[in-house]
Amino acid sequence: MHEGDEHTFDRGRFLRLGAATVAGAGLIGVPAARAAPPTPAPVGDDVAYVQFAATAELVSVSLGAALTASRAFTAAERRTLTALRDGDKQHLARLAAVLGPDAPQYGDFHIRLPKASALNLRASLLRQATGLAELVAGVYCSGVGDVADAGTRTLLGRLLWSEAQHLSALRLLAGKPAIASGLPGPVSLDDATPRLDTFLGDAEPPA
């Protein structure tokens, strides 16, 4: 019996969704052949959504590293998790390109990943990853309705679409249904900020 068989989710469905997510993530980085999306040029406080999202994706990449390194997942699951992490890296690169020199760097923060329970490592890691993906998708959703610049709005919309698939893949992996009843609701930056800050500590090298 394969170690992954003990979980209740539909493996075939999960792997198909994982493949679709990877393909979707690719669309973020590669302009569609039919119509070039408008170049994002955040106006005024539009930058708040881009900055938040870039930092959240930075955390997501780090959390993804913990997931892919964990023996709590099968080899096939880890491949899909790796693809999800690659998608996050693409999101981060796209957002960093918009922010330029103001883009967050790994050295700017100490990324604090909540301690996963040793007793139920798999569930704990997935709960953290799902929570973060829900938060990011909610902020993308909020940003789509709020930003002034059309290019930034388009970018956030594309990222929302990709993040929703990412979230679905994580939910299936956790034995929960994929997002079937619509996208996650919008999350305001005010509400999202303290939740993201739980992952961030000051970067403090030794004296």
């Binding site: 406080d45 938040f52 103001d102 970067a203």
Partner: protein, 243 residues
């Protein structure tokens, strides 16, 4: 008698414009370093002020030997002009929202400022603390608070701290180190980490005729030494990676 007074006034004005003599070893540094640097060494003559103001003074020939700015912009500008050596990063910092200890504006977080009607003190747009503050507010989607509150703009961070400590402002954006230096008169409210702009201090040895380059390099070496880093940390600064 009148002539004597006039000479005295002129002499005083010159002294104020050039706070240290050309023959002394002079360190021009951002206001926020005004506690840490003298604790590290008392031997240089210090001139603390807004980084942009100090940069302008050096460009006009002020007798500085070392320049330390609260953002890379000013030091890098002097380096690009051939007026100082390649800048090195000596410290980092973070922004906080400072309120008087009595907190008359009843601020519980930066978001309280959305309600408007408060007296807010910030750095002007030319000085690093002012640039950082505006960047932070944009990242928090809070630039509107600069219109909904009564805003006074100061030319350096020490003036912002003083206004809050004296109760002339309900709140002000300053560096964490200034909040620590403010003691019991003030209280610091933390700001979201993701929105913090990277605050990096840089310093360089000034290149000019008659500059004391040996003393300047010795001072820079002391600041980045183990002792220097420990002193900066003691005053609340963050530290860049070694090397």
């Amino acid at each position: 008698m009148n002539r004597t007074l006039a000479i005295t006034a002129v002499t005083t004005a010159i002294a104020a414009a050039a706070p240290a003599s050309a023959s002394a070893f002079n360190v021009y540094a951002a206001s926020s370093l005004s506690n840490a640097f003298p604790a590290l060494t008392g031997s240089p003559k210090y001139n603390f002020g807004g980084s942009n103001t100090l940069q302008t003074q050096i460009e006009k020939g002020a007798p500085a030997d070392v320049f330390a700015s609260a953002s890379p912009t000013e030091a890098q500008a002097l380096y690009a002009e051939g007026r100082c050596t390649r800048p090195v990063t000596l410290a980092t910092n973070t922004l906080v929202l400072l309120v008087p200890s009595s907190n008359p504006g009843r601020l519980s977080s930066v978001y309280t400022l959305r309600s408007g009607g408060k007296r807010l003190s910030i750095g002007n747009a030319g000085v690093p603390i002012g640039v950082y503050t505006r960047k932070l507010l944009a990242r928090l989607h809070l630039s509107s608070i600069l219109k909904s509150n009564t805003v006074s703009q100061e030319s350096n961070v020490s003036q912002v701290t003083s206004k809050v400590a004296l109760g002339s402002a309900d709140a002000g954006f300053v560096y964490k180190t200034d909040a620590l230096a403010g003691g019991d008169r003030v209280r610091a409210l933390t700001l979201p980490r993701y929105a913090q702009p990277p605050v990096r201090y840089q310093m360089c040895a000034v290149i000019r005729d008659g500059a004391n380059t040996t003393a300047a390099q010795s001072f820079i070496n002391r600041v980045v030494s183990k002792t220097g880093r420990a002193t900066l940390r003691r005053f609340g600064f963050g530290l860049p990676p070694k090397g």
